[in-house]
């Protein structure tokens, strides 16, 4: 029994052409017992920056509240929106603060920088940042997601194509993992809007 596999759940983030996408499943359970089909794992920082947290459910919730507070304080003090790279550093330093008693949660961050360049990154539970060029995965079905993304992803996908790609990667990966699935949500972020869609998948 590993603490990171106690509640289950997974996330994937992908870079497209002037857009990014992030997807998560919706399962929350206690080991084999599934409890919720609408657990929120993805959160928005602003309309150009989203992040998700996989791992222990309580840490997902506590960290999202901590980040909400830090970002609110940042916005009030600096009178500007936080940049994706800066937010990633904030998340990393918050996790590393607990280096020897960590939060059991691994984040994925996606967003658009000030000049609309796509940005994605992921971290381990103590804040080591992986600035990826293509896609990032985390959670109990991360291995499956790696396989699906490697097979399906290609550079410079338009928002609609990116949506299809990330959705297929998510749906098929979680079907091979007992602790993930039970629904999925996808956010596609473009310079003009954020499109949120709920996927219809196997509910077993």
């Amino acid at each position: 029994m590993s603490i990171m596999q106690y509640n289950g759940g997974c996330l994937v983030g992908m870079k497209g052409k002037n857009c990014v996408a992030i997807a998560s499943d919706r399962r929350f359970g206690v080991q084999a017992l599934g409890l919720s089909t609408n657990f929120q794992r993805m959160f928005s920082v602003n309309n150009r920056l989203y992040y998700g947290l996989a791992g222990l459910g309580t840490d997902v919730q506590t960290l999202s509240e901590k980040f909400r507070m830090s970002v609110n304080m940042y916005n009030l003090k600096e009178e500007r929106d936080i940049a994706p790279t800066t937010f990633a550093s904030l998340v990393s330093s918050t996790l590393y603060e607990r280096r020897f008693g960590p939060y059991f949660s691994e984040p994925v961050i996606v967003g658009l920088e000030k000049d609309d360049t796509p940005f994605i990154c992921a971290m381990d539970l103590i804040g080591c940042i992986n600035f990826a060029k293509d896609f990032v995965v985390t959670g109990t079905s991360s291995e499956q997601l790696y396989g699906m993304c490697e097979a399906l992803w290609e550079p410079d996908l338009e928002p609609e194509d990116l949506f299809e790609t990330i959705s297929q990667a998510m749906l098929n990966a979680v079907d091979r993992d007992a602790l993930s699935g039970w629904g999925a949500v996808v956010h596609v972020i473009t310079p003009t809007q954020v499109i949120t869609r709920t996927l219809k998948g196997r509910m077993d």
């Binding site: 003090k77 600096e78 500007r80 800066t86 550093s89 904030l90 330093s93 000030k114």
Partner: protein, 246 residues
């Protein structure tokens, strides 16, 4: 009447003043004049390096100092107090960098330093800092120039002077300052402003000038990027500006 309330910092006088802060401002007004001017593409801060005697090794005296790579500061007033604040400001900037991995914007660092100075107006057994600081920086939002007083109040300026000759200097600046000034004009104007109240000869070793501008640097990925940078002018550069004044 003020004397009855002037000994304890933490006691208001009947007129509603904290007299120690007034006196701290007097200490600043006795200090060597410092100038700050904000241009469209940068900020300049300057002061006179006044050493007591010709025997002082003035290469070791530094009044215009860097706080972090995009922010610098100059002071008027008590040098030792300024040194303490410079150390605190540098530490605050690096602590910011530990969290966000970027340099703090000037406005944020100014608030931090101002709140340190305010602490010393509301604590027991301490006195206010006897300096006013002119903090200059360049970041995403553009060039920024702030003054921070012993009370902890701060003001953003387009151009200002602090210290001995500040009234004359500010009058001079009001006439000379234009919002379309570029950094070279601003340096030129700063030198002219200092010249008015300069005690002693104006040379490349008696003038200290610092500028905050956008420079192209190589970042940690080896990519040239434009970042806000603060640096002190080299004596050779100051010499060139002085040659244009004469």
């Amino acid at each position: 009447m003020a004397d009855r309330y002037s000994f304890s910092l933490t006691t208001f006088s009947p007129s509603g003043k904290l007299v120690q802060i007034e006196y701290a401002l007097n200490a600043v007004a006795q200090g060597v004049t410092s100038i700050g001017i904000k241009a469209t593409n940068g900020v300049v801060i300057a002061t006179e390096k006044k050493t007591g005697s010709a025997l002082v090794d003035d290469t070791t005296v530094e009044k215009v100092v860097m706080i972090c790579s995009n922010i610098g500061v100059v002071y008027s007033g008590m040098g030792p107090d300024a040194r303490v604040l410079v150390d605190r400001a540098r530490k605050a900037a690096q602590e910011y960098k530990r969290i966000y991995n970027v340099e703090p914007p000037t406005s944020v660092l100014v608030k931090e330093v101002a709140s340190i100075m305010q602490e010393f107006t509301q604590s027991g057994g301490v006195r206010p800092f006897g300096v006013s600081l002119l903090m200059a920086g360049f970041e995403e939002a553009g060039p920024a120039l702030y003054q921070i007083d012993p009370s902890g109040s701060f003001f953003a300026w387009k151009a200002t002077a602090i210290g001995k000759n500040m009234i004359n200097a500010k009058t001079f600046l009001e006439k000379r300052f234009t919002s379309s000034m570029e950094i070279e004009d601003a340096v030129h104007t700063a030198i002219l402003t200092l010249k008015e109240g300069f005690e002693g000869a104006m040379t490349d070793s008696s003038l200290e000038i610092g500028i905050a501008t956008m420079e192209t640097t190589i970042n940690s990925h080896g990519v040239p990027t434009k970042t806000g940078t603060f640096r002190r002018l080299r004596p050779a550069e100051i010499k060139d500006y002085l040659a244009n004044i004469a």
